[in-house]
């Protein structure tokens, strides 16, 4: 009986901890940093807006290249291989992975930009701590974007290797 109530207390304690972990800010910043954020608030916001514009440019460039590679290279090759009864399981698997990675790239970009927009809209002079907390979250989203582009680049390289192998057989 005692054991049961003890485990119940532990579960309740863990739940409370989880709630606080969600509510409390991820990072605590010192006063000096807080002051710097307040002082440089306008400069930081201008910098963030520039990042938004540059990111839009990069996304369009990369997004259109991924689209082109999928629609004009990867998919037509697999279709032709199927037509000639030469279907290659590795190439098909790689195509599926590429489609998934491209979708993830688009979704992550939207999520990252939503967070970035929220950050730009925040008042860093009034709430520097919350602002910095959000900045850390945006950094994490940006890191995910970096990983997405690396995965897509890896899948393109793998496709080139597989086609080079295929070429040797034909």
């Amino acid at each position: 009986m005692k054991k049961k109530s003890l485990s119940l207390y532990i579960i309740i304690f863990m739940l409370i901890c989880q709630v606080f972990a969600v509510v409390a800010p991820v990072v605590a910043i010192n006063e000096k940093k807080e002051e710097l954020i307040k002082e440089r608030c306008d400069t930081i916001k201008d910098g963030l807006k520039n990042v938004q514009r540059e990111d839009a440019k990069v996304r369009v460039h990369l997004g259109s290249k991924y689209e082109l590679i999928l629609n004009n290279y990867i998919m037509p090759l697999n279709v032709k291989l199927v037509e000639k009864n030469l279907s290659n399981a590795d190439l098909v698997e790689n195509q599926n992975n590429f489609v998934d990675a491209k979708t993830t790239f688009s979704n992550d970009y939207i999520s990252y930009q939503q967070q970035l927009e929220e950050l730009v809209a925040m008042d860093c002079k009034e709430e520097p701590e919350k602002f910095y907390d959000k900045l850390v979250k945006v950094r994490q989203k940006r890191k995910t974007m970096d990983q997405d582009t690396m995965l897509l680049r890896h899948l393109i390289s793998k496709h080139i290797r597989l086609v080079t192998k295929l070429k040797e057989k034909i």
Binding site: R40, K65, N72, Y73, R142, V163
Partner: protein
């Protein structure tokens, strides 16, 4: 009496016209609001570069126009050794354009140093709070 009836009909007609105009404006505002909400919440706004402040540079526009003849393996390619050689050459050219961006979403762009928010007393602590 007839005159008064005509006046009443005219007033009623203009009132109906006014109601029609107001209802049209309200419907237009509501549908535009809903469209904008969908446009924003779906995330399409972040993929759209035609919005103010995000329009493409002139250099980008000329870059887009130069590639008029787009290679498509479905139409132009053949499953021969030569066909696949051309395929790989063309694909490599596209990949080179992707590689122009060495680190397209570099984390340094949002670092504390970039924004000048590293307190001078603690140079070793820069970015420690979850940047990496």
């Amino acid at each position: 009496m007839e005159n008064g009836g005509l006046k009443f009909r005219m007033r009623e007609g203009s009132r109906n016209l006014l109601i029609l105009g107001l209802v049209s404006i309200v419907v237009a505002l509501v549908t535009t609001g809903v469209s904008l909400a969908v446009y924003h919440n779906s995330g399409d706004i972040y993929l759209d570069r035609s919005r103010p402040g995000f329009l493409p540079d002139e250099s980008e526009i000329s870059d887009d126009n130069k590639d008029e003849e787009e290679y498509d393996f479905g139409k132009d390619g053949e499953l021969t050794n030569e066909g696949l050689t051309e395929y790989l050459e063309r694909l490599s050219a596209e990949v080179e354009e992707i590689d122009e961006y060495e680190k397209p979403f570099d984390s340094k762009v949002l670092s504390d140093e970039k924004f000048g928010i590293v307190p001078e007393e603690e140079p070793d602590d820069k970015n420690e709070e979850g940047a990496e």
